[in-house]
């Protein structure tokens, strides 16, 4: 009976080792994260001359994004807001609540989210509705030579 017990222990250990090894390899494979390239490329988002003071202007950016094996040509909207002098800031159009795209409502001079009634002021701060925080700021700079507005994506 000792021999029998020993064989059962042997079989179970080997099966556990094989199963464990396979689980480790396949688990690592299934959770494989693609090496992401550092963010922070400056992309042209129109000319400063085209902006109107204190009116957010939507700009659609074309981005090239590597999604695993797929090179995606994605589009993203940012709002450029010019304060009338030297200052320009850029706001992401993605609502901080559940990710819908906000739009600028000229009549009330507020950003409104079409999904769940989130409302943001011209600076992107939450005025009403469910959004937990202000619209995300996007880094922006002016190219003095060309007059282009560059945003970092």
């Amino acid at each position: 009976m000792h021999r029998r017990r020993a064989l059962i222990v042997f079989i179970n250990s080997v099966i556990a080792l094989i199963g464990g090894g396979l689980t480790a390899v396949l688990g690592a494979f299934a959770t494989m994260r693609p090496s992401t390239r550092a963010e922070g490329r400056w992309v042209r988002a129109g000319l400063a001359a085209d902006l109107t003071p204190n009116v957010p202007v939507p700009r659609v950016l074309s981005l090239s994004r590597q999604d695993g094996w797929y090179r995606e040509r994605a589009r993203a909207t940012v709002f450029l807001v010019w304060d009338g002098s030297k200052g320009v800031h850029a706001l992401s159009a993605t609502c901080t609540h559940l990710g819908c795209q906000v739009r600028w409502d000229e009549a009330s001079t507020k950003f409104r989210c079409p999904c769940h009634g989130g409302v943001f002021d011209q600076q992107g701060n939450v005025i009403e509705g469910p959004p937990p925080r202000a619209l995300n700021r996007v880094d922006v700079r002016l190219d003095e030579n060309t007059g282009a507005v560059l945003v970092r994506v």
Binding site: V14, I18, F29, P34, S62
Partner: protein
Amino acid sequence: MTEPHTARPRGMGPGEGPSRGPGRRPGLIFDWLHARTGFRGARHVLLDEPLPSGTGWFFTLGSVLLGLLAVQILTGAFLTLYYAATPDHAYDSIRFIISAVPGRIVRGLHHYGASFLVVAAVLHMVRVVVFGSYKAPREATWLSGLVLLGLILAFSLTGYLLPWDQRAYWATVVTINISRLTPLAGELVSGLLRGGASVGALTLTRWYAIHVIFLPLALLSLTVLHIVLMRRHGISGPVRPRPGDPIPFYPWQAARDTTIVAVVLVALAAFAWNGAPPLEAPADPSDSTYIPRPEWYFLGLFQLLKYFPGKWEIVGAMVVPGIVAALLVLLPWLDRTPVRDPRRRPLAMLFFTSGLFGVVLLTSLGWRDRPRNVAAAGTWTLREIGGRQFTQSRGCAKCHATEGLADPLEALSASRGPEWLAGHVEDPEMIAPGIRESPHSLGEREVAAIVAYVRKLSRQPYPGFDAQTETVGRVYGRFCVGCHTIDGDGGKDGPDLSHVGTKHEVDYFRRLIEDPESVKPDAEMPSFGSKLTETELNAMATYLAGRK
């Protein structure tokens, strides 16, 4: 649940029976589960098979096949997490899979697992034939086993196409063309296999579906059938009955099975550790230099075709394999005496051994009969070296940079065909409207050189050459390659320059390139004195004089 066995075979422990006594605390949840599902009965049915006395190591191959099948199914299922079955993306998705260690190992396991399965299945068949296990009443088990072997080969064939590289593409083209030789239904069969008008997107999705849905369903059903039939008649055991009581499968024979399965899987892991063989260049239907070769277990068939040229091809492609298959199917009826000892059935053994020997011989002949110029593919041509220089000096680095929109120049790897590449090099905007800078004016030859360079780079990293060679590559790739050939690459209008250094000296070449008519009044070659710098002229002349 009814218990199929009334008597407990020798060696079965008291705790292993279907009714384990209640009251043991650790067993409480299992007792509950058993009361609801009867799972202990299932374990009894699965594991307590009584085996004839003397069953030994030769009877472990079935479990090896089951173990390998489990690995194939698991790794295959996980590979579908990342694989994309379209001609535009299949190659990229495989490259993504092998870009990290776990992916390399999983693909390696799946790749080599296929070979292991073929070997194990053939060994299993050899064991069955030598032990005469196909004889009555086990003919149906034998036939289901043959179908399983066919399914395993069909898996290999369909899986082969999926990476969509040169090897995959051309092996499939050849397979589909062979299928056209099918008597009466050639066009029907090849059309079914091809899906579309030519090997392409429709073929890929079709073979993918066959590989991951149709074949696995067939394989699983046939495997269950095979095992049920095996259990129905019991295993055949030693060729002559040995004295002694039957022994339960678990744990006595199961320990042998586990040992062999573990050894085989460790060997498989050792093969898979560094991943599958690297991908070849992406599928390119226009490439006439590529020499397709099948996976090793099809080399026998591949070699057989060479002996039946012209109208006799059907003999090698269909008739001989068909006869072999028919003989295997009919084996239980050709060798019908109840005698199982191989020494007492010399005729059956002779036929089977010579058939097996034939397959092994053809396979090894096919293995050795490989074309010579395969090795030469490793060297870099001047055009490719020139292409490198053009990518450096033309605007490519604007996007192909470490922080850029596209893969950095050093890591370029062609995942599309040469037409796509050429179009992209000529006009990057065309491929990616609105994103890339406007194109740089590139000559046709520079485009061709860059395409050649990127395609070579996909297979091997740039080794680096001295400044003179790189200069020569640039000049040759831009000006000379249209008319002159070096090492088999280039145009045919002018003389081949591969060994031109045996005829003239440096000074002659310099004057010839600068002003051809000064040394050869009837020269048709244009003068390059105004197009090349002093350094370029000297580099070219020195290089050509060195071509002995």
